[in-house]
Amino acid sequence: MCHNDRSGASGLSLTSLDAMRKGGKRGPAVVPGHPEQSMLYRVISGGQPKMPLQGEPFSKEQVEVVRQWIQDGAPWTAPQQWWSLRPLVKPQVPRVESSWVRTPIDAFVLAQLRVKGLQESAEADRRTLIRRLTFDLHGLPPSPEEVDAFVADSSPDAYERVVDRLLASPRYGERWGRHWLDAAHYGESHGYDKDKPRLNAWPYRDYVIESFNADKPYAKFVKEQLAGDVLFPGDPKAIVGLGFIASGPWDFVGQAELREGTTDKKLTRLLDRDDMVTVTMSTLVSMTAHCARCHDHKFDPILQSDYYSLQSVFAGVDRSDRTFDDDPEVFRHRNQLLAKRRPLSSALRVLDDEAAEISTEEIARLDAKVAEWKQVNATDPANRSAEIKRNIAEAAVQRATLVKAALPTKSVLEMERLHAEISAIDKEIAQLPKPRLVYAASNYFEPQGTFRYAAEPRIVNVLARGSVDNPGALALPGALTAVSGLKARFDLDPAAPEGVRRAALARWITDPNNMLAWRSIVNRVWHYHFGAGIVDSPNDFGHMGSLPSNPGLLDWLATEFRDGGGSFKKLHKLIVMSSVYRQASSGNAANARIDGENRYLWRANRQRLDAESLRDAMLAASGKLDLTMGGPSVQQFFFKDDHSPVYDYARFDPDNPANFRRSIYRFIVRSVPDPLMDRFDCPDVSMVTAKRTTTITAIQALAQMNNPFVLKQAEHLADRIQSMSSAADEQVQLVYRVLLQRKPRAEELATLRDYLGRNGLPNLCRLMLNTNEFIFVD
């Protein structure tokens, strides 16, 4: 935009109503109520509009919008007036007279249904309820026995006991952890060219699961993921949370092969931090800060300088393996040693870099020879020989001697001193038990090619048009200026270590007065329970996102959650205990005419199983489900490490026990998705996913019919049923009981008995795995 606060072409800024009324050199741009007197309207309308200077003139419709807006008095929303930026105040629960109301949630929803002329739905039957609850809280079907017990239980707290049982089970953390991993765009390979596996990402996945199972307070959960190393220095688990920052893709070639100082290197780093900013702000405060990389946000009050302040928060970290120890004492000791080692290796690096610049004629000749040998090695396999390899190794030694001779004595001595100190520390480190590794945000790691830790946080400038070639003002750590009541720039000591920046952002996000964060998380949880959020754009609470369908409810939940200690389990219980949640999913023609999309929740939303739940439900039915928790991810593909590794799902035995673990434990390759999961809309983990899409395609039908994994599970299910009964009728009944948790109707029984006779039990099981009733949850 040309007319902003800084550039202000013709002295005019169009960034606020005040600025427009004041106008520029040529007078006020906007005179509310009087389009014809408003310069803004005059320059963009007429036969040959003067503005915009570049690009196409505005369309008739666009000009009319402006005219109408000025005519209406130019209403302007100040940041604080935008719904998501208003301070969070606990609203009054509406008073609604109805026995349907069990919880405040019901009061909020029913009050709105009444206003809209919508009729709430009756409670779903018990089989539907327990199926819904179990898939929702565990991502698994209930066992037939669990269904029987609940259906038969006439005590008034029967439902509540099911809820409590489900929330207490470790299956809960596996289900809700999976949701969090979507939001965090967690993957286990780097992506891009080469797409190397990331073998130590999984401890973060386990950390997420454990955090949900332990009902970790949300503020702590967030703080650990952004700055666990700084805010909880004695706790090894907190470091593992830093996997959040590192969960996205990483450009191996750009990071490790490009030379320092090149434009592409700068671009690689800019985009690497961009990913960190995007995942943090989208997931934790539902703001699209990443839209302000090239200019101030076009729709929301997010400044370009806000964006670069956020980049500055992450300017001291990269994505890398980092060590931790289960034993806090060892952990503390190791960190002390590493803290001592870091400045030494930084000093040594400066000297090494100087040495690398040294060149003499002799060194140049040697380098040229080595280049030749390497060329032969790389391109001419026939002439590749041990001799060449030896030559290259010998040349390296020779080179070091030549460089040393060319260096000033002072530098050589200093290098020797540093080497000695470092190796003394390394000896101490070697005494410690072997550390564990997690792929996480890190400010100290072993170099890999040209990928090296930042000794000091890297300089971040505001970039004109987002171009690394146009650095502007220095950006200091901070967050969003539009969040009133919180300091948008952190005013940190410039000499403070980088972690202080992340800690400041973590505090800013989790501050009780950060209205965005608390609204964001309760909406996200609501979204997963109902299939749609109160705000249907869980990662965007700005002007381009949706408006809350029930603002009072959202704020009530946000304050309740915040003030109740940020307990997810309490929030889940609050939600699933409500009458709103317990409604049937059946249609109602009169309601549908008013609210066909069910935004106001006059019924439950029928949901198609997501890829993981579908896969896990098949394993549960076949009896093969292996409930082992945690540990390295299971690779459900043929793997060959190469220049570009090969991941081949077709060359993998579907009966390999690795396939029987819950889907959250599968190894997620960024570039080559699992074909079955992919068909069922498992998202591309290069992107933050707030909401999964649900598609229905022929290719998907083919997968469920023919995928080797599915076919194997059908076979295992058949074996399981066969071992329980050999009578046809009973077999059909058992398949229904296991897969659908109900008895077949008479005509279903008759049809399938005949089918079974013609095609056998494995075919029957395969058929049933393809039914809509199995794949959708009412």
Binding site: Y192, D193, P249, G254, E257, L258, D264, L267, L271, H290, C291, Q375, T379, N539, D540, M544, G587, G596, E597, R606, H643, S644, V646, Y649, A650, P654, S671, V672, P673, P675, D678, D684, S686, M687, A690, T693, T694, T695, I696, T697, A698, I699, A701, L702, M705, N707, K712, E747, E748, T751, Y755, R758, N759, G760, N763, R766, L767, N770, T771, N772
Partner: protein, 467 residues
């Protein structure tokens, strides 16, 4: 309330779209759209040939007398020369001789003699620029318009925008090089944040199961081909019964229809891949049977058969990853050897495709696009190779409303940097979409707060390229 169109787009496109179109009584929304989405279309379909690893412009179509004249001298174009891997070597002329071809008198190197015979049908852009010098990001850029992973490929956008033209094949099909995936792998044909139905369906023409799960594996011995119809019939019966009390939920109905379409795909996919009934002359034209050209030729011929049957967007890859021995166009070490190998496999089939489409009257409404992620340096790397050049490279088009025998934009006298009309993939994407009847600025999808388009916030249609 969600409009029917949004609903179709949300759940469909690709085969899902067909499912729903069928379901809604051939509503016409997804019908063959000669009218285009925003304006009359000149092209209905696209075939894109992607040269993975970066095909050299100065060894193919970007003729520079200066390189011949200054061969072996110090490369000094003025200013700092920043290369990907190496320090700049000496000026290096192409190992191949150059000749003028066709009525347009286009200079083409001896590396691609067959394509040289098609120059009067081709529109060259010699002023392409990439925003990245690295294969992964640059390959993403040419495919998706962004140098980051996770954005939808052009084929996905076209599927989203125009939907399907057929009832029993996917809308967007990708044929990878049989030696393996290019940098980024299937990430190059992802639907990104668009509904998954729009992603490229990968067809591995040389594999026994060319589409994942098209047929059950042999290991599932309990399945008998003759019982499949029975299974589908009973499944339909159960699903219809389930639907009775849930009639308002069109997703359930769509899922029922999806099984009918799956059965159709099982019939049509093998048919489209079976080239045995093609004439001997055709097989010869594509170089099928000759070891050097068989692989790419087969893919090109299968691609033509798909286009004939209404597949909207086909992408064929020449080149796998950047490993050793070289199996793509990334000729850092020895351009004469490695480019010769790659071009020998690509040249004849690519030219065959243009000629064949033309002979069948399909070239008029089919865009042929020859693409690569960036170019190569006019100076040497080592002594015989060329490093990456993101500052100037060549792409060309044929058919589908593109003008024949034209060259647009120019690199400098070295073929080092663009000298005239710098062009990004934004502009070529915009131009292709324009010919498909789509205004690139209006083909958008809201994701994470931004109305995304393949051209980001850029892109100008290039009128000089349009017939």
């Amino acid at each position: 309330m969600t409009s029917r169109r949004q609903f179709l787009w949300g759940y469909g496109g690709g085969l899902g779209g067909i499912a729903l179109a069928g379901l809604l009584g051939e509503s016409g929304l997804l019908a063959d759209a000669p009218a285009g989405l925003h304006h009359p279309a000149k092209a209905k379909r696209v075939i894109q040939l992607f040269m993975s690893g970066a095909a050299s412009q100065c060894d193919t179509f970007d003729y520079k007398a200066k390189l011949i004249e200054k061969n072996g001298e110090k490369f000094d174009p003025g200013g700092k020369v920043e290369l990907f891997q190496s320090s700049p070597g000496a000026v290096m002329k192409s190992p191949w001789d150059w000749k003028q071809h066709g009525n347009s008198g286009k200079w083409v190197s001896g590396l691609v003699p067959h394509l040289a015979s098609c120059v009067d049908d081709m529109a060259f852009v010699h002023s392409m620029v990439s925003k990245s010098n690295v294969h992964g990001p640059a390959t993403f850029m040419q495919n998706t318009g962004f140098i980051l992973p996770g954005y939808p490929a052009m084929g996905a956008w076209v599927s989203y925008g125009l939907g399907s033209m057929n009832k029993d094949l996917p809308t967007f099909v990708v044929l990878p090089d049989s030696r393996g995936y290019a940098p980024n792998g299937p990430g190059n044909w992802t639907a990104g944040f668009l509904p998954a139905a729009h992603q490229g369906t990968m067809i591995r023409a040389s594999s026994p199961n060319p589409i994942y799960d098209l047929f059950p594996p042999k290991s599932a011995s309990y399945l008998k081909p003759e019982s499949e119809a029975d299974t589908l019939r009973v499944l339909n019966q159960l699903n219809s019964r389930h639907l009775v009390s849930r009639a308002e939920d069109s997703r359930l109905e769509a899922r029922i229809a999806s099984y009918e379409l799956a059965a159709k795909l099982q019939l049509s996919a093998p048919e489209v891949m079976d080239i045995s009934k093609e004439s001997k002359a055709t097989l010869e034209l594509y170089g099928i049977g000759d070891k050097v050209t068989d692989d790419f030729g087969r893919n090109c011929l299968v691609a033509r058969r798909m286009l004939e049957r209404g597949v909207r967007f086909v992408q064929v890859w020449s080149g796998a990853d950047n490993g050793f021995p070289r199996r793509n166009w990334d000729s850092h070490e020895d351009i004469a050897k490695d480019h010769a190998d790659m071009a020998a496999g690509m040249d004849k089939p690519a030219a065959a495709l243009i000629k064949d489409l033309k002979a069948r009257g399909m070239l008029d409404d089919t865009i042929v696009h020859w693409a690569t992620e960036f170019g190569r340096m006019p100076c040497s790397q080592g002594s015989k190779g060329r490093d990456h050049n993101p500052f100037a490279f060549t792409t060309w088009f044929a058919g589908g409303g593109f003008k024949g025998g034209v060259s647009y934009g120019a690199s400098d006298e070295w073929s080092y940097k663009v000298a005239d009309k710098p062009t990004y993939c934004y502009d070529t994407h915009a131009t292709m979409l324009h010919l498909l009847g789509i205004d690139h600025k209006r083909l958008t999808y809201r994701h994470n707060g931004i109305d995304r388009r393949i051209t980001d916030v850029f892109g100008e249609v290039i009128p000089e390229l349009i017939a």
